[in-house]
């Protein structure tokens, strides 16, 4: 009996330890492992508020347990008639004033951080050439994909946000169809992309993403936006400033490549015939495309934002987009093109890279 009990104890200890270790979630998408100043500020508030709240819970539970243990009718006898106490002004005062103080303790940093995180004044500061001094990214959320334009750099990409570490990156957020919400849990809180107005905020990225499990942070849509809301993921690649500059230059160079029809492979020819109307393969330009920009498709981490990044998955996606991402706006090509042709397109897409 005792032995069984001991084993049971060991087991529960292990279970508790597992829970504790797993308690912080995964680095690429946990709010408990913030990798940016905004997320860290919010984490501080989480710790502060949790602390205050645990204190409140503790006080309540102590009074509660003592009351239940001491004042049971089974102990006091069936005929016991308790004194009919009306109340106590002193006690009422105590449990009004102490919560007021606790609320103030939380309210002051709340107001401070609300203004701090809402400060986007630097966004509009321009240098002598009229260029914004900070990096600004225009985010457009569309039915189940994300478009990222860098207006000062003249480039546009989709599904995978690339940003430099160590500086404030400012965002203009807008939705093109229905309301979505832009969220990178490990970096900082979310902000909605409304359909009628541009929302602005900033995030900072303190950690290069290359050491993470997939080499990227995870981004999510946090507002119900239709059937495939759950699949409206994006990824965030954070690069050291020098690497980022290199990436920008490479992206800007994609505009100079012209298609040599003679030298083009089957995949590229098919792409020009079937896909180019919606998908650009040059990163130079502005947002507003019908489909995601594919200039850096080969460098990305996922197909359609959530499927494994392999050629087979690209073919699967192209053959039946509705099966993979219900309600999305891209037509399926399973019946229009043969498997061989789909494979050729997939191979071509996987080769679109600015990093290799």
């Amino acid at each position: 009996m005792m032995k069984g009990l001991k084993k049971w104890r060991l087991f529960s200890l292990l279970a508790a330890l597992t829970v504790f270790l797993a308690g912080c979630g995964q680095e690429e998408l946990s709010t408990l492992l913030p990798a940016g100043q905004v997320g860290k500020d919010q984490f501080k508030l989480l710790m502060l508020s949790s602390g205050i709240m645990l204190l409140v819970i503790l006080v309540v539970v102590i009074i509660y347990v003592v009351a239940i243990v001491r004042f049971r009718r089974s102990k006091l006898g069936e005929d016991f008639v308790p004194e009919q106490v009306e109340g106590s002004h002193t006690l009422e005062l105590v449990w009004t004033v102490i919560p007021v103080l606790l609320v103030l303790l939380l309210a002051v940093p709340t107001v401070y951080y609300t203004y701090k995180l809402g400060d986007v004044s630097a966004m509009h500061e321009v240098n002598e050439d009229g260029q914004s001094e900070s990096l600004v990214v225009d985010v457009t959320a569309k039915l189940y994909w994300w478009e990222f334009e860098y207006p000062t750099l003249g480039i546009v990409t989709a599904q995978e946000l690339v940003v430099p570490t160590g500086e404030k990156v400012y965002f203009n957020l807008l939705a093109a169809d229905v309301k979505h919400s832009f969220w990178i849990p490990a970096i900082g809180g979310k902000l909605d992309t409304n359909v009628e107005n541009v929302n602005k905020f900033y995030l900072t990225f303190d950690k290069e993403s290359q050491d993470l499990k997939d080499g990227v942070f995870y981004g999510k849509c946090a507002e119900l936006c239709g059937p495939s809301h759950a699949l409206m993921d994006f990824k965030v690649k954070t690069l050291a400033p020098a690497e980022f500059d290199k990436w920008v230059t490479a992206m800007q160079a994609t505009g100079e490549e012209s298609t040599d029809v003679a030298a083009a492979g089957q995949g590229e020819v098919l792409f020009q015939q079937s896909c180019i109307a919606c998908h650009a393969v040059s990163a130079v330009g502005e947002s507003g495309a019908i489909g995601p920009n594919l200039a850096s498709f080969g460098d990305r981490n996922r197909v359609a934002g959530f499927m494994d990044h392999t050629q087979e998955k690209v073919v699967e996606w192209l053959s039946d987009t509705q099966k993979q991402k219900p309600g999305n706006l891209m037509p399926s090509f399973g019946e229009k093109l043969s498997d061989e042709e789909l494979n050729a397109i997939a191979e071509y897409l996987m080769g679109l890279s600015v990093e290799k």
Binding site: V60, I63, P82, E86, G87, W95, T96, T110, H229, D233
Partner: protein, 624 residues
């Protein structure tokens, strides 16, 4: 209309229930209707949890999943929690204030039938295969983009049901203001009556915004208006404001009556006067008032700017103070009392820590910058289930066990009640505690599935297993209800033995005119006072036995609501089907004809003769 039980055919019984204006019977109807929808919403919840059991699950498709979560939320809030609470208000509140019925028995019946037909209208969408899928909040841009008639069912169904609720709220307000027995001053009213009063006042101010919002949505979708379409100069954020100006008070409408039920339970089963009664009343009123001042905390991530966010943050935190006052007063009520752990008391005791956990996460969410992280994640799902299930549903189940003998004249089985409790309580915490962490770990809410490899798998398994426990608990409760109804062991006036308020001084269930003589109220917990002073009946009459004026039953509320139900289909199919316009007109004409009949036909009610009352009293006297 005699109180003497007599054998009647099925048809006569059905007719009686369809036309009843008796607040006790309407209370039972609300309980049955709400209970039915509670089971429907529960089945939807189980499908959600099975779908999320494993990553990439395809039990239901993405589109159907969104329909299920929308209907789960809408059903549970509008068609289950609120009607059941209104059922208790109906069944118990008039008894607590010593009244013979509510102020407007006809409106009471109309309110029920509008709720019923609205609820049926909403759920008929399943048979059309066009179900609301824009979430229970039905944010405008998604609601406008939603194909088929799903969101139309939402807009019209809630409009009809919401109208019923508004009627109920007004009715209770007038009842409490005007129909209290002699001596029942405001500060002697039982706390359940007080919370009914405040919740009704909140209904009065919160439901008109919903009505307006739903009208705008209806006209936007069905009649070509452009209130929300930004390309036509509309604005979708307006919907969010209107919805939450209604929606936030709504959650207090749900919780306050539950607070009232718990206050009664703590007092009864501790054999002790409610500690700090006046502070409790003040806290209730304050919560009701502040409930209207905090709606934008649902919109911290909408981009209202730091000033609005800061103001609404602090206002939200302020609500914690009166709520804390209530918690400590309950604790001090049981402190020094004589606690008997019956099934209702078990639920009430479980409510305190559970609700405190839900309350503190509410303050955390009210911290705007932190909300940027937690908003629309599973943390929010955990939070509102801790308050709505841990508060309202615990309160409903506690109230069901507490008031069952008063409403039906027979007790629910205590042992089965406790088994129900443990399954539900353990299942509840298994399901929702872990969801706080799912939110921290980055899982958004309202997702139909999730990819493997994000660290969410085992937490979701735990959550789904917990949901199964809750389902088992509710199944046992349904079994308990059926078995005890069949056995039908009759109980006396005060089956719990420690009743303190007027409802426990009359028989279970009460005669249709409630009180043979209107009682004289001599203080808070008047029955307890009378008994302590040696008056074992618990009541001192305020009037001699005399004829009692009572209202006649009416079939008009049923017909009027049916007219609105028919008109709803017409509005929906007006442009698509040739019969659409005709049905819309027929439905509206039907409704107005019913109204006209009510207005033109004088119905003066009837008198219960003194002799009959004396006969009833004698019969009761014989039982003692």
């Amino acid at each position: 209309m005699s109180s003497v039980a007599q054998k009647r055919g099925f048809g006569a019984t059905l007719w009686d229930w369809l036309t009843t204006v008796d607040h006790k019977k309407i209370g039972i109807l609300y309980l049955l209707g709400g209970g039915f929808f509670f089971v429907v919403g529960g089945i939807e919840a189980m499908i959600i949890r099975v779908q999320l059991l494993t990553p990439n699950n395809d039990l239901v498709s993405a589109g159907i999943f969104n329909q299920i979560i929308t209907m789960h939320g809408t059903t549970m809030i509008f068609l289950a929690a609120m009607p059941i609470l209104i059922g208790f208000m109906n069944a118990i509140m008039p008894l607590q204030i010593g009244a013979r019925d509510v102020a407007f028995p006809f409106l009471n019946s109309l309110g029920f039938w509008m709720f019923f037909f609205g609820g049926v209208f909403l759920n008929i969408s399943w048979f059309f295969g066009q179900v609301p899928d824009a979430g229970w909040t039905s944010y405008a841009s998604l609601a406008m983009a939603s194909e088929g008639h799903g969101v139309d069912f939402y807009a019209i169904g809630l409009q009809i049901a919401g109208g019923g609720t508004l009627l109920g709220g007004i009715n209770f307000l007038v009842t409490i203001i005007n129909m209290r027995a002699p001596g029942m001053t405001y500060m002697r009213m039982p706390l359940f009556t007080w919370t009914t009063f405040v919740a009704s006042a909140m209904i009065l101010f919160a439901f008109p915004p919903l009505t307006v919002g739903l009208f705008l949505l209806t006209f936007e979708r069905m009649f070509g208006a452009n209130f929300f379409d930004p390309t036509m100069g509309g604005n979708t954020i307006i919907w969010e404001h209107i919805f939450w100006i209604f929606g936030h008070p709504e959650v207090y409408i749900l919780i306050l009556p539950a607070f009232g039920i718990f206050s009664e339970i703590f007092s009864i089963f501790s054999r002790k006067r409610l500690f700090g009664y006046s502070a409790m009343v003040f806290a209730t009123v304050l919560i009701g008032f502040l409930g209207f001042m905090v709606w934008a905390h649902h919109m911290f991530t909408v981009g209202l700017g730091p000033t609005a966010n800061a103001i609404f943050s602090v206002a939200t935190m302020a609500i914690a103070i009166p709520t804390g006052v209530k918690i400590f007063n309950w604790l001090l009520t049981i402190w020094g009392g004589s606690i008997k752990v019956t099934t209702p008391m078990l639920w009430a005791l479980a409510f305190i820590p559970t609700f405190v956990m839900g309350g503190v996460t509410g303050v955390m969410l009210g911290t705007a910058p932190l909300d940027y992280q937690l908003h629309d994640t599973y943390f929010v799902v955990a939070h509102f289930h801790y308050v709505i299930v841990g508060g309202t549903v615990f309160g409903i189940i506690a109230g069901t066990h507490l008031y069952w003998p008063k409403m039906f004249g027979t007790m629910l089985n205590e042992a089965l009640g406790k088994v129900t409790f443990w399954f539900f309580f353990i299942g509840f915490h298994l399901t929702f505690l872990i969801q706080h962490w799912l939110g921290f770990w980055g899982m958004p809410r309202r997702v139909f599935t999730y990819m493997d490899g994000q660290g969410w798998n085992s937490a979701n398994v735990i959550s789904s297993v917990g949901a199964l426990f809750m389902a088992i608990g509710i199944t046992i409760m349904v079994y308990n209800i059926i078995v005890t109804s069949i056995k039908n062991v009759r109980v006396a006036n005060d089956p719990w033995g420690d009743g303190r308020t007027l409802e426990w001084a009359i028989e279970s269930p009460p005669v249709f005119y409630n009180f043979a003589q209107t009682p004289l109220v001599r203080g808070l917990d008047t029955v307890y006072i009378e008994k302590m002073e040696g008056n074992l009946s618990g009541i001192t009459p305020a009037e001699p036995v005399q004829d009692i004026h009572m209202p006649n039953g009416s079939f008009i509320p049923f017909m009027l609501s049916l007219g609105l139900f028919i008109a709803g289909f017409g509005a929906m199919f007006r442009t698509e089907e040739p019969w659409g316009m005709a049905v819309l007109i027929i439905g509206l004409v039907w409704t107005f004809a019913a109204m006209a009949m009510r207005s033109l036909k004088d119905d003066l009610g009837f008198y219960v003769k003194k002799e009959d009352i004396l006969k009833d009293m004698k019969r009761k006297g014989g039982q003692k």
